[in-house]
């Protein structure tokens, strides 16, 4: 039933649309969305936007900024700007896929744990407690080192590392929502458990999950780039931000832009999701986690 139908049933005029006042939360959210759009567009259109072939070398190495190479060239004469633009693809692809997997696993485990409760809850939470005890980055390093640094392994590792946190974010609100009257009512009219969970529990817990996902995206960019920085990132020759930063350190005093460029890209991407998370938190009115 559409909104208009409800209003006509009630015999009332639809209320005039409230003008959205520019509160701090909405400004932040708007800024975050603009930054996200820029990031996604540049990443998707990378081959079209990049002025040069990111792997093409040239004799002009370690040059400063020029009208041709805006951010100069690296140690073997590759265009830094093009490498940053194309490198975002690898970094962001790993980030988005891994967080999607962690979100999916977190939804399943969190809903099972919170909604079913009992020994299922105990078993799931105790296993996740153990994974949670490892510092995220340390666990990621150990698993990637054990499995070998390939793109699928990186995705899998990061998904595993962030699943406990995601599950907790889902489980908490589910625990309280399942005791609410509308869930009881749905059950009393014989609605199937699956329908109750998908229609009456999940929609109530979406807000904190959305905020947590955005923050996890920011943390994941850190984890992916830091792993690449240590040489545990996606294998060459495809450029990625962490690897570029690490490679540039050797000659950075000769060509500071080779360091500043990827650093700025990492900060911009991370900032996008932090701004987005804070805007969403204000707009969706999600309390602080504690």
């Amino acid at each position: 039933m559409s909104d208009a139908a409800i209003f006509s049933l009630a015999g009332a005029e639809p209320a005039p649309r409230r003008r959205l006042r520019p509160t701090a939360g909405r400004l932040l959210l708007g800024l975050g969305l603009v930054m996200l759009t820029i990031l996604v567009l540049i990443t998707l259109l990378a081959p079209l936007v990049a002025p040069f072939d990111p792997s093409a070398t040239s004799p002009q190495s370690l040059e400063g900024s020029s009208s041709q190479h805006w951010l100069g060239t690296d140690a073997i004469g590759r265009d830094v700007l093009s490498r940053i633009i194309v490198g975002g693809r690898t970094t962001l692809f790993i980030t988005f896929t891994a967080v999607s997997l962690a979100l999916l696993a977190g939804l399943v485990l969190g809903l099972l744990s919170g909604y079913v409760g009992g020994w299922v809850d105990e078993v799931i939470m105790r296993i996740l407690d153990v994974i949670f005890a490892f510092p995220v980055f340390l666990l990621a390093i150990a698993v990637v080192a054990a499995l070998g640094p390939t793109v699928p392994n990186l995705i899998l590792t990061i998904a595993i590392v962030y699943t406990p946190a995601m599950s907790r974010v889902v489980r908490g609100p589910v625990l309280s929502v399942k005791k609410w009257d509308h869930v009881e009512a749905a059950r009393s009219i014989g609605m199937s458990e699956w329908r109750i969970v998908t229609r009456h529990v999940l929609p109530m817990v979406v807000s904190p999950i959305v905020v947590a996902t955005s923050l996890t995206l920011a943390q994941t960019i850190f984890t992916v780039t830091a792993l690449s920085f240590l040489g545990l990132g996606p294998p060459p020759p495809d450029p990625n931000w962490g690897g570029m930063l690490a490679d540039a350190r050797q000659f950075m005093e000769l060509a500071p832009l080779t360091v500043v460029g990827p650093a700025a890209a990492i900060v911009f991407a991370t900032l996008t999701f932090i701004v987005l998370a804070n805007g969403l938190r204000e707009v969706l009115d999600v309390g602080s986690e504690r």
Partner: protein
Amino acid sequence: MKRVILVRSMWMAAILLGVSFVSFMLMRALPGDFVLAAAGAQMLQPEVLEAMRRDLGLNQPLIEQYLSWLGAVLKGDFGTSFVTHQPVLHELWPRFLVTLELALIAAFIALVMGVSTGLVSARLRGAADWIVRLYNGFILAVPNFVVGTLIVLLVGLYFPELAVLSYTPFLEDPLGNIAGMILPAFALALAISVTISENTRAAVLEVSNQDFVMVARAKGLLPRTILWNYLMRNALTPIITVTGLQVATLLGGSIVIETIFAIPGMGQYLFDSITSRDYPVIQAIVLVAAACVVFINTLADIAYATADARVEA
């Protein structure tokens, strides 16, 4: 009180058991043969490999291997390094102390920065509050290895006479050692100071709204007295807990910073061991770092329960 400590300690033991099992399995789940990794680059006869397998107990059931490994670990025997053939603990201990020192200096810097910005934010409100919160949001977006690299770059460009990348052992020159630690510790401290700042702000604001503070204000106590004796005293517990938890994660999280600044701590040791596939060392470091986190978490829980009688065991 005793009950709280007992329950939490048993809880800690259970988690540690799980952590040890994951650390053990992590290195057994390696693709390829553990013995071939132990043998390194040498080409060995099949009989020799078989003998090594027997010596390492690899032909026994997995659960027995785990139990005997755990028994050895509890006695402080983390095995022998594949690379140096020295006992792992022997090599790990001095490096652990270096990382601990780095983490403590970072915690101190983060406390000073975080508490002062948090106080400014909570007490002045208005524009100052906004500036601090925007600054915190931005700092959160700058990963520590980016801060570290930029510090090395700036020092290299403008203060080349400062030797950033030279580590001095503490026993040789204590002051030089601490001076060398300040920049890397600062890189680690930035992100932590944001967490501390936000927690300080929240704690002070919460205490400010309570009746006893209003009474203190009404009876005319100096603002300075109210701040230190009433606000900070009550806000201190959450601040210290948060700092403790952050320091625990630093023990495992300073890998990149130690690599950038060439500090011979546990993180750099881990990095080197990954490069040389020295699995017993990787296993030991993962276990030690996770155990530190579990231990400090438990301490924080007990501290909370002690400070607040309402917390259940």
